[in-house]
């Protein structure tokens, strides 16, 4: 940011609290009967000291889980909620799209609704009328301009609403998950519009939990959790962190722990102490980008002497399909003898060729032989989230080299139709 450039949006230490009523006095009668009763309320801090600034032309993502305060932050920016602390500044005309088609009335024809909606979004009525044709054209609904909205299909409604939003000419657009609606073709159209908005240098703040959209469009992203900013930066890294937050928490609760204990088999001559995943740098991770090199590591201690045990693990995806099984059998059947009290660390390195999903690892130690005489087996002890933007249907996402060779035609190119 140069000194001359004024940020499009500045959010400085903004706090938003909600009064959550316990027993709310809702009538004058109650107020009159109990004038001294304190209404019991507690406060919920929905946005907790958030600061960031957005440069003009930036596509800025705000992500977070449900209830993380991202929509509240947007409503504060939009001027719908008053904040309880901090300051916000905008430089340019701002328009908010928390919902498509605010103010649409089903009884009135599309023509009127476009003007109502555009005026509500900030155009003057005259400008709204001037824009009417452009809106109808964009929505491809010119023939239906005089049809009442109640006779519109839902797809047509969405198209109309989105068309108004594009045509209101705001410098700064605040968008809240409007893309969750519409069929695939329409979503593609929205994405195309996003790309166009980006090229035009409009400033966009997009609130969503669709990480694919964030990674695809946003220059930067802010991750919120419980109203607090967790991370601000590169969308891809924010995406990884978001995945971690999303999936990490379930592992913590006691119920999960108990279930894990009950999913434990074996005669107990050895104990798997812990297991984890590591990335290529040897850091413990809960989420890994697709196609990175990584390792599964388990630590175990023998409580009795064991001859030629087998140590290994199996990796299952969310559909409980085993996508990888590896063990010390690769080293040969005779691992030697282990003494009571000895601790071992098993490390299995592999290329993460799996598609983005959630995976569960089951480490196990077994007696030599069939491999089913368990010493210790801990069902789904650790999980791993694989992140990435690839959208394959296949279980694994193997890197491929794709080439295409085209044979030259005998005819000269001018005769090729089209």
């Amino acid at each position: 940011m140069t000194d001359a450039e004024i940020p499009a949006i500045v959010v400085d230490d903004v706090v938003k609290r909600f009064q959550v009523p316990g027993e709310r006095v809702m009538t004058l009668k109650e107020r009159a009967l109990h004038p001294l009763r304190k209404t019991s309320r507690h406060e919920l801090t929905a946005v907790d000291h958030v600061s960031f600034s957005v440069t003009p032309g930036e596509f800025f993502g705000v992500v977070g889980r449900n209830g993380s305060g991202k929509s509240t932050l947007l409503k504060c920016l939009a001027g719908i909620y008053a904040v309880d602390g901090g300051r916000m500044f905008a430089n340019g005309r701002m328009s908010t799209f928390i919902e498509l088609g605010v103010g649409f009335n089903m009884e009135l024809p599309a023509r009127e609704n476009v003007i109502i909606n555009a005026t509500m979004l900030g155009l003057s009525p005259r400008r709204a009328r001037e824009r009417l044709d452009a809106v109808l054209e964009f929505a491809e609904l010119e023939e239906f301009a005089d049809l009442r909205l109640k006779n519109y299909s839902s797809g047509m409604l969405v198209r109309l609403a989105f068309a108004v939003m594009i045509q209101v000419d705001a410098d700064i657009l605040l968008i809240d998950e409007v893309l969750a609606v519409g069929d695939a073709a329409f979503q593609q159209k929205c994405y195309d519009e996003f790309a166009r908005l980006r090229q035009e240098g409009r400033t966009v703040i997009l609130v969503t939990h669709d990480m694919a959209a964030v990674e695809r469009f946003c220059d930067r992203a802010l991750l919120l959790e419980h109203g607090r900013p967790v991370m601000l930066g590169d969308p891809h890294e924010v995406g990884l962190r978001y995945m971690e937050l999303n999936f990490a928490r379930e592992g913590d609760d006691a119920e999960q722990e108990a279930r894990r204990e009950s999913d434990r088999f074996g005669d107990g001559r050895a104990e798997i102490l812990e297991a984890w995943f590591e990335d290529a740098d040897g850091e413990r991770v809960a989420a890994l980008p697709s196609r990175a090199r990584c390792s599964f590591v388990a630590r175990a201690r023998f409580s009795e002497d064991v001859q030629d045990p087998i140590l290994g693990f199996a990796l299952q995806n969310a559909d409980q399909q085993t996508v990888l099984a590896a063990s010390t059998l690769s080293l040969g059947p005779e691992l030697g003898s282990f003494r009571a009290g000895e601790e071992v660390t098993l490390r299995i390195a592999f290329d993460n060729v799996f598609r983005p999903d959630r995976y569960f690892a089951t480490p196990a130690i077994a007696h030599a032989g069939t491999g089913f005489a368990w010493i210790d087996r801990r069902e789904r002890l650790v999980d791993l989230v694989v992140t990435g933007s690839s959208r394959t249907d296949a279980i694994i996402d193997l890197p491929c080299d794709v080439t295409i060779a085209r044979e030259a035609l005998d005819r000269p190119p001018s005769e090729v139709p089209g």
């Binding site: 916000m88 009335n105 009884e107 509500m120």
Partner: protein
Amino acid sequence: MSATDATRSQPLGRPIRGPSAVGGDWRRLLHLTRLLAVTDFKLRFFGSVLGYVWQVMHPLLLFGVLYVVFTEVVPLGEDVRFYPVALLSGLVMFVFLSESTSQSVQSLVEREPIVRKIQFPRLAVPLSIVLTALFRMGLNLLVVFAFLFASGGQVMLSWLELPLILGLLIVLAAGLAALLSALFVHFRDVKPIWDVLLQVIFYASPIFYPITIVTNDQLRAILMCNPFAALIQQFRHAVIDPSHPSAAEAIGGAPRLIIPLGLIVLIAVVGFTYFDRKAPRIAEEL
């Protein structure tokens, strides 16, 4: 991650303030008020063949009933010139006051979808209700004037008072509309209370009876302290026929008019101030 350090030395652009009654932009307030009112008006008569006729039917029917009752059954206005027109004018003004206030009470709650989804001057919501009622009063007043001419009334210089009288009536109605709509967000029993108060206002104002029927000077003065009663009386005096006592005569001297006028100002100030104070939090308290 603090934006403050990086940007303190520069101008930061326009501060984003939360929602408010007016929003610092009068034109947008006017645009939205008009838009909401016109839409409402269209919706009410959309698809009905008789449209405008229904518009004037409501006061006309009430007028018909009261006319029969008070000319044939209980003759109240025999010695009053243009009693039917006076009766109708009072009704039209009361219908305006009643519509603009009783529909405003729940207006913010009913407009919840837009209140919670976009930033706009909150005052547009109750004001649009007043504006819709004003359209209808305009149409109804045409009927009043038609009756006036039909029964032999004449154009008078004192008609110039009409804008002032209607202006005060609008200020009164708008002040009440703002107050009631903001109160209703917190106190849901405002609605039944106001419905009863409207009935009281109806009978306490000289709508179907001429004020001259109240012979006790003190009682008449008290009745005329009601700003709505004073406005009706002045309308009759200035617009229908000078034989109707003016508000000043009815209350017992022009200086006393300070009371109804003061009440109008007070209601407007209290109403708009309360609304302005509540406006920033309306979206989250609905």
